[in-house]
Structure formats: C-alpha cells, structure tokens
C-alpha cells in the first residue's frame, strides 16, 4: 500500500461521509461545518495527488476564507433559519436522491468504461515555481480575467445587499 493509497483510503471515506452529512443536515451550520471537513479531507487528497500548494490554498482560501464567510452569514442571519422538520414537497425530496443516484450511475458507468488516454509515467513538478510560471505565463489572461471577476463580484455583492436609505416607490404592478 503506497502512501497515496493510504491517503485515499482514509481521506476518501471521510470526505464522502462529511459531504453526505453536509447535504442531509437540515441545519445549515452543521452542514457548513461538515463541508469544512470535506474541504479538509480534499486538501489531504490533493496532497496525495502531488499538489501540495493547491492543498494549502484549499485550506487557506476555501476553508479559511470562504467557509468562514459562509458561517459568519449563517450566524448573522440567526439559527432560526433551520429548515422546518416536516417533509415538504415530497416529490422533490424524492427527486433529489433519484437524480443523485442517476447522475452518479451514469457518470460511474462512463468512468468505468475507461477509454481515457494512457497516464503519463512521470510526475509533474508541483512546485510553487512551476505553478507560478504557468499562472503568470500561459494563464496570464485568465488570471487577469479572474481578477476582474472578483471585482465584479464585489460590486455585485455590495449593490445587491446594500440597504436603501429611501425605498423608492416602484411604479409597476404588484
């Protein structure tokens, strides 16, 4: 058993269980915490896959920033937003799992039928240097575009969440 196999064997199940927990819990806070576990276990898997820097980013940015923000909002809005315990719109509650099973089934079938190009024997240089070369070389434009995207998202978030001082009378139909 290689290290990678060991990592997969441990982190994989944790990841799935946490993910399932995140999806099944009615309480968003618990779900968020479960998701964080998933994120951590994914970071471990990334390590096993030879992408240590990404693992770091996953923990720092994803788990660290995004999830914190999410949890902050959950707390901000109060715990009262726990979903109602009763089963609502049962058709949809049934459709969810069904879709998931179908989705996984189809995807698994596709994956298991193989046909992928052969794996390259060597391993890539996963160092930060190499990453930086790519990021500021081939992917410069994407990088810049992503920065514009973040700016746009910022503005969008501000605009939509900003509290209006004066509610304008809307001239449309109610």
């Amino acid at each position: 058993m290689t290290a990678e196999q060991a990592i997969f064997a441990i982190a994989g199940p944790i990841c799935v269980i946490a993910a399932a927990n995140a999806v099944l819990r009615r309480d968003p806070l618990t779900a968020a915490l479960s998701l964080t576990v998933t994120l951590f276990s994914l970071a471990v898997l990334f390590l096993g896959l030879g992408a240590p820097f990404l693992a770091g980013v996953q923990i720092a940015v994803y788990a660290g920033a995004i999830m914190v923000l999410l949890i902050f909002v959950i707390m901000l809005l109060g715990v009262s937003h726990v979903e109602m315990p009763r089963l609502r719109r049962p058709a949809l509650q049934l459709a969810g799992p069904l879709i998931a099973v179908a989705l996984f089934g189809v995807l698994a079938a596709a994956i298991l039928r193989g046909g992928l190009p052969p794996a390259s024997g060597d391993t890539a240089d996963g160092s930060v240097d190499a990453l930086a070369d790519l990021l500021f070389g081939r992917y410069t434009f994407a990088f810049e575009a992503a920065s514009v995207l973040l700016l746009a998202a910022l503005v969008a978030a501000v605009v939509v969440a900003r509290k209006r001082s004066t509610e304008h009378e809307w001239p449309g139909r109610r």
């Binding site: 081939r138 746009a152 503005v155």
Partner: protein, 463 residues
C-alpha cells in the same frame, strides 16, 4: 504580453476598463447618475468600434484569446447592444432612483464576460467569461429593491446559475480528464465515455445561459424583476455569449463516429422543446415583460434551430442575433418608456391614441418578433430555416414555422391591445430611450428591406 496581445483582447479590456473607471469616477466625482450611463455607453460603443482596429494576430495570451470573424462580430454586437441598453437606462435610472454608476459598471462587466466567452481560446476562459457575464446579472436582477419580487428572482437566478456553473465546470473537468487539455480544440478528438459525458455537461451549462428549455426557468422571473434596460441587456448579451460559446464548442466537436451528428441532434431536440414550450408559455401571459421573456426564450429556440445545423449556419445565426438584438432592445425599450414598469397587456389599451408613434414602433417590432415581412425578423427566420433545411432538419423547420404561428397569437394580442379603447398613458416628450426605440424599429424595418450590407458582413462570421 505584446501590443498585439492587447489589441486582440482590446474589446474586453475596454469594457472592463470602462467598468472600473465608472466605479472610480463615482467615488471621486459627484455627478448626476445619468452621466455614468452616458459614460458607460460611450465605453461600450468604443469597445464595438475598436473591433475594427486590426490586431495583427489571430490569437493572444498563449491562445487564451482569439480574434476571428465571430469574436469581432460578437464584440461589436455586444458593444452596440450594451451602449443601447445603457442609453435606455439614462432616463430609467433616474426615474427609478437606481445607483447609476453601479448599474453601469455591472453592465459593462457583464458585457466583457460575454465578449470573453466569444473570444475564448480555451474552456477555462469560457468559464471565467461565463461567470463574469453571470455574476453582475444576478446582482442586476436583485437590484430593484422596490420591485415586489426582485429578491426572489435574484435568488432563483443565482441558485440555478450556480448549479449550472458547477455543471459546466464539471463538464470542463471531465473533458480535461478525457483529453488532458482544456483547449476548445481538444474537444475534437473525444471518443471516450468520460469525454462525451463532459461534452453533454458543457451543452447543459451553455444551454442554461442561452435560456434554452428545460434550462430556462430563471429567465422569466429574472427578466420581469430586473430593471428593464438590464432585462434588454441580459436578453441579448447573455444569449450572445452563450451561443457563441455553444457554437464554438459545437464547431470543435468533429470527433470520430457520430459525435458531431449527436451534438447537432441534441441541440435540435433542445431547440424543438424550446420552441414548443416557450411559445406555449408565452401565450398565456398577462404581463408584457413576462411575455417578452418567454418570447426571448422562444427566439433562443430559433437560434438553436440554426445552431443544430452546425457551423455552416454561422452567418444565419449572426444575422438572427443582430436582428434579435434590435428587436429585444426595441421591445424592452418601449417598456422603459411607459409609466408602468411591469405593464399588463390590458394596460396598453388606448396607447395607440395617446402615443401613436410609440405604437407604430411597437408594431414594427412585434411584426419583427413574429417574423413577418417586411421586417428583418422575417429574413432572419428565413435564413435560419434555410440553414436548417440545408442540414436536412425539415421536421424542425416545420415545428419552427408552426411555433411562430403560436407566437403570432401573442404578439398580435399585444398589438391589438394597443389599438383597444382605454385610458392609455399621457404623451411624453422625446427622450434618449425613445430615440433608441425608434432607431431599433427603423433598423428592423430597414434591415428587412435593405439587408444586403449586413448579410455581406455576417458572411465573415464563422464560429
């Protein structure tokens, strides 16, 4: 990074720079809100104009961005549409007390995303463009705090959009897993199930942005709730981005066996479902905006009809998109000119008497939407149908023409409502928005009678 790199990406840069400058300017200068719409329009127009500057290269940034007939066309059309939408917003933002600078900036950001999708060399840029296109639109949808359901629409749009983005991203991932490349060209060789699954998910994700049934559910709500100029903008620009990406992906799929055929068949089926459902749903609408929303979904269906003919239909699609842009700007533009921002069709009674010119313009636009001569809408439809017929899609064409009969029912209902007896609205003086509407209507008419120049121009478009 060279000068030619920048020139290739110039339209995107101009749009994004415009957005940033408007944001900055709003912080520094205390100007009337309307000024920002004018500035934004100027930038959008500049983006359109600068497509004419020869770049000296077909690609830039290591192949991330490319410049060809299709990207030039989309950039020009996006720029022009954005400018027109912002001009519609000039009066509107003031009347609705909207944050003009933010609206302008978001619009420009979104426009840059659309151009990015059209000029992307790889799937990653397509994905970023898609997000850049979408995120501002979510915000624009939720902007009208005073409108009754803006929050709901924004939420729906966002949740659906996020899921669709994830689907699209997963598609890219599967394609990458199957080919080891994220370049669009890599789609060509795909034959493994994983790669094919990826293609399917790419189609689903793009169909969502193009508002094709059954990925369209966000559209009616978002269109109704967004500020009307933004509605016009998203109805045109989002589709431009989505369809150019869709067509580029389709053009790249030349894989062995029946893959290309399957792609076209999938698009054809989606087109068929869209035509039927959208037109039927539009038939029962009371709200004019919602009706136009479904109508724009239906028009996406017609574009998809041509798209299912493959890349040979590029010129037809391009022509259709231009006409559709003019029609959509005109139609939603007219709503911006009404007192009521979400008028029921019955509210239009008496409009012909009070504002005859407006109704003439509306009439031209409705004829264009229906696809009746002598408007350009007719030629656009004929072009699309000819393309589909060339691809042996007779069944789809028959479905399309029948669907347009249904569409005639609801479009003409609007026209007839204007002719009815009623209070109507008080006449209003000339306005910027009014000029945009008149120009759009004239364009629809003139392009129907003298389509030659535009037709010649779109011949160079090849996705």
């Amino acid at each position: 990074m060279t000068a030619s790199d920048l020139l290739v990406a110039l339209p995107v840069l101009v749009l994004a720079a415009g957005a940033c400058l408007v944001l900055l300017g709003d912080l520094l200068v205390h100007a009337d809100g309307r000024a920002w719409a004018w500035v934004g329009a100027a930038f959008a127009l500049a983006a359109a104009v600068c497509t004419a500057i020869p770049a000296g290269a077909d690609a830039a940034f290591a192949g991330s961005v490319r410049r060809d007939g299709a990207s030039i066309f989309v950039a020009a059309l996006v720029g022009a549409t954005t400018a027109a939408a912002l001009l519609l917003a000039v009066g509107y933002v003031r009347r609705m007390a909207l944050p003009a600078a933010e609206v302008t900036a978001l619009t420009l950001f979104s426009a840059s995303g659309a151009v990015l999708m059209a000029s992307a060399g790889d799937l990653l840029v397509v994905f970023i463009g898609l997000e850049l296109l979408s995120l501002p639109l979510y915000a624009l949808t939720g902007l009208m705090h005073a409108a009754p359901h803006a929050d709901e629409s924004a939420l729906k749009y966002f949740l659906l959009g996020a899921a669709a983005s994830a689907v699209f991203a997963y598609g890219i991932a599967l394609v990458y897993a199957a080919t080891g490349s994220i370049s669009i060209g890599a789609l060509g060789g795909i034959s493994s199930p994983v790669g094919l699954a990826g293609i399917a998910l790419l189609l689903a994700g793009l169909a969502f942005k193009a508002a094709l049934v059954p990925f369209h559910f966000w559209a009616p709500d978002a269109y109704v709730s967004a500020p009307t100029p933004a509605t016009a903008f998203m109805a045109v620009v989002a589709k431009l981005g989505a369809f150019s990406a869709l067509l580029r992906v389709g053009a790249a799929i030349t894989g062995p066996g029946a893959v290309a055929v399957d792609w076209r068949a999938s698009v054809a089926v989606i087109a068929a479902v869209t035509l039927v459902l959208a037109n039927l749903a539009a038939l029962g609408q009371q709200s004019l905006k919602r009706l136009l929303a479904y109508s724009s979904i239906a028009h996406a269906g017609y574009i998809a009809v041509a798209a299912s003919a493959g890349v040979v239909a590029s010129a037809a699609i391009a022509f259709y998109l231009v006409v559709y842009a003019a029609l959509t700007l005109g139609a939603f533009g007219i709503i911006t000119l009404l007192e009521n921002d979400d008028p029921r069709i019955d509210d239009l009674h008496g409009l012909a008497r009070r504002r005859p010119l407006l109704v003439v313009a509306l009439g031209v636009i409705l004829l264009g939407l229906t696809g009746l001569p002598p408007t350009a809408g007719f030629l656009a439809k004929v072009y699309v149908f000819e393309a589909a017929m060339g691809a042996q899609l007779a069944w789809l064409v028959v479905l399309g023409v029948l669907a347009s009969v249904v569409s005639a029912a609801y479009y003409l209902r609007v026209l007839f409502a204007c002719l009815g007896e009623g209070e109507g609205e008080p006449a209003r003086g000339p306005s910027v928005g009014g000029s945009v509407v008149v120009i759009a209507a004239l364009a629809v008419l003139v392009l129907g009678i003298v389509p030659g120049p535009l037709l010649d121009a779109v011949q160079s478009v090849r996705f």
